[in-house]
Amino acid sequence: MIGEMSRIVRTMTNIIFGFIVVFGFYVIAHGHLSPGGGFQGGAIVASAFALLLVTYGTEVIQQYIAKDLLSVIESTGLILFGSFGFLGISATYFYNIVANSGGLFGSPTVIGVNPGDLNTSGTIALMNIAVGLEVLAALGVIVLTMSAAAEIIQNKEKS
């Protein structure tokens, strides 16, 4: 993965990258309504990182995406996930107290056929977002580390 790929690949990456990221976040945010969820959406966002790495090479990308920052996001996502469990501690751990409370993600769920209201499901949606953050950061770190290692091996073979 040393160096950039051709102009065609770079142009297509520039166009597609944004769409992949937006689609990933869409899957995360709609985790409680449609197929997918935090893990799947996070994996989609991380695949956009992989695309960037393949197109532009490890050196260029490492200047823009810091591994340390991703690690912090990963821990934050997991801490959020654990803390959301404490929201319902008045009943039991992981009790969904936000649902039907009226606030963010707190609208009552409509029974029957409906177009799908994003603003429902309480802590499930919040937890999906936390898991999404964790997965995109964790897979991002893995992809970055693997490409850096691949570069070291290639440099060794050259010399």
Binding site: S75, S83, G85, F86, A91, Y93
Partner: protein, 522 residues
């Protein structure tokens, strides 16, 4: 206070889990202090476990339902069955959780000095906290799929910990890959067995499965899978090949926690046999399978141990051999489970011996591995031939080693003697030959620990170890606490058996109580 007590089962899981992910962030601000933070978290967890233990031993089983007040879901037909993730903590579960809490707390305290000079310690502590969380989960849960999830977490985190930067000429990565293969296979097969249950009974709650249990062909398959895979993870003999490598290559503090992890697998094996199947299975056959596994582990483990030159490898073979005692004791109990007269006269005693041996083994094996770590910390070698005369410089470590070695060899007044005596007496009534083998193994155990004592501690002071000092305070503290508990257990075994071990054994044997705790209210 009442609220904390009510939510203790969730907090025991949630606290280490949250701390695991807070640790890397804290490490960015104050890298040196995270070890103290982690020890404090384990201290709080230990307190919570003790609180829970007090409550369970006085008031009976705790049931904690995650994510809702009601455990069950009523169908329109009026039929109710459990759907949510339920923690069902009886005397046996809390017995194991106590072991985990004590061992992981002391491992964290020991690591404060032991891991001081390594880089990447924040990741080490994250993994240690995750490993402890997974053990608590395996021991407290009443949901068999939940058990599988925690089983996987424990495998993954222990694989990473085994290969954590060891500088001695060994090959931690090889040991870790071996363990990874073993644990992936066992996790997959356990999942397959869980699938067999789910396909037949449509529920994952252990109490519900136990009440539906028909012992069909599929259940027999599931039993074989659980038996082999969990015996493999606990290091019983035909499947013990990963144990010496993993135990000797891991950092010493981790080895101690790994001993507790394999005992959590052993607990799961007993839980599945006794609480899920109980008398529906052919108890004599399965009991004898456990006994044969136990005798093989005892004998092969100890004979392999005697010839080792690597101190931690020698101790690792001994933990295989000690697992044999537990399997022997509980196996005898299982073999007579369907025979009330024999069960009352010696079956329960044999199981008490086996279960008591679990906690004793965790304590003295932990102490011995910690002393081996102390020797490695100061001398930089695990080779017994290169050590010598260390009693001149490391007087505390020598004392702790003597206590641990006497306990594992079954010398009174230490705790190993108490549980081994119970096993000998009760197993002798079942089959004298088995008791004689157990005693022979005990003698060989003493022989191999005298060998370590002779080659590492005795003799004239060696030139290269003239400047060796006693290990730092945190390591001495961890070893001292274990020694004190060992001596206490050795002096008052009747109290321990009466208040902790006997309720645990009854919780295993009494299946109807296990199922009715969940299903009784439905």
């Amino acid at each position: 206070m009442n609220g904390i007590l009510m939510h203790a089962p969730a907090l025991v899981i949630a606290l280490p889990l949250l701390a695991a992910f807070v640790t890397p962030i804290l490490g960015r601000f104050n890298y040196k202090k995270i070890s103290w933070f982690v020890s404090a978290v384990f201290g709080v967890t230990l307190l919570l476990t003790l609180l829970m233990a007090g409550q369970i031993l006085t008031n009976g089983t705790i049931v904690y339902v995650f994510g809702g007040g009601e455990a069950g879901l009523a169908l329109p037909s009026g039929y109710t069955f459990p759907i949510r993730i339920i923690f069902q903590i009886d005397a046996m579960g809390i017995f194991m959780a106590l072991i985990t809490a004590v061992i992981s707390f002391l491992a964290a305290v020991y690591s404060i000095s032991y891991m001081e000079d390594y880089s990447g310690v924040d990741k080490y502590y994250t993994l240690l906290l995750l490993l402890a969380t997974s053990m608590f989960g395996m021991e407290l849960t009443g949901d068999i799929f939940n058990f599988f999830v925690f089983f996987e977490i424990s495998s993954i985190s222990s694989v990473a910990l085994i290969s954590f930067r060891s500088t001695f000429n060994g090959e931690p990565a090889e040991a870790a890959i071996k363990y990874m293969v073993i644990s992936s296979i066992s996790a997959l097969m356990v999942l397959f067995a869980i699938g067999l249950f789910y396909g037949q009974y449509g529920t994952l709650n252990m109490a519900a499965i136990a009440s539906f249990m028909q012992f069909t062909k599929l259940d027999k398959m599931a039993l074989i899978l659980f038996l082999t895979m969990l015996a493999m993870k606990s290091g019983a003999v035909p499947m013990h090949m990963w144990t010496p490598d993993a135990y000797s290559e891991a950092p010493s503090a981790i080895t101690v926690v790994l001993v507790a992890t394999s005992q959590a697998s052993l607990y799961a094996l007993f839980r599945i046999i006794f609480s899920l199947y109980n008398v529906t299975l052919n108890t004599v056959t399965v009991g004898w399978i456990l006994i044969i596994l136990g005798v093989l582990s005892m004998f092969i483990g100890v004979t392999m141990a005697v010839i080792q030159k690597d101190i931690k490898r020698l101790m690792a073979y001994h933990s295989i051999s000690q697992t044999g005692y537990m399997l022997l004791g509980v196996g005898v109990g299982l073999a007579v489970l369907a025979n009330p007269a024999a069960l009352a006269s010696y079956g329960i005693k044999a199981m008490e011996g086996g279960i008591f041996h679990i906690i004793n083994n965790a304590l003295y094996k932990g102490l011995l591995f910690l002393t081996a770590g102390a020797l490695f910390y100061r001398t930089g070698t695990r080779d017994l031939n290169k050590m010598g005369g260390l009693a001149h410089n490391m007087s505390y470590t020598t004392l702790f080693y003597i206590i641990g070695a006497a306990a594992i060899a079954g010398i009174p007044p230490f705790n190993g003697f108490a549980s081994k005596l119970i096993i000998y007496e009760s197993v002798y009534q079942f089959n004298p030959l088995l008791a004689i083998i157990a005693m022979l193994v005990s003698i060989l155990t003493l022989a191999s620990f005298v060998k370590i004592f002779h080659s590492a501690f005795l003799g004239p002071q060696l030139e290269q170890y003239k400047s060796v000092q006693e290990v730092p305070k945190s390591m001495v503290f961890a070893m001292a606490v274990l020694s004190i508990i060992i001596i206490f257990f050795g002096l008052f075994p009747n109290l321990i058996v009466k208040y902790i071990v006997h309720p645990a054994v009854m919780a295993l044997i009494n299946q109807s109580h296990y199922t009715s705790t969940i299903l009784g209210g439905m």
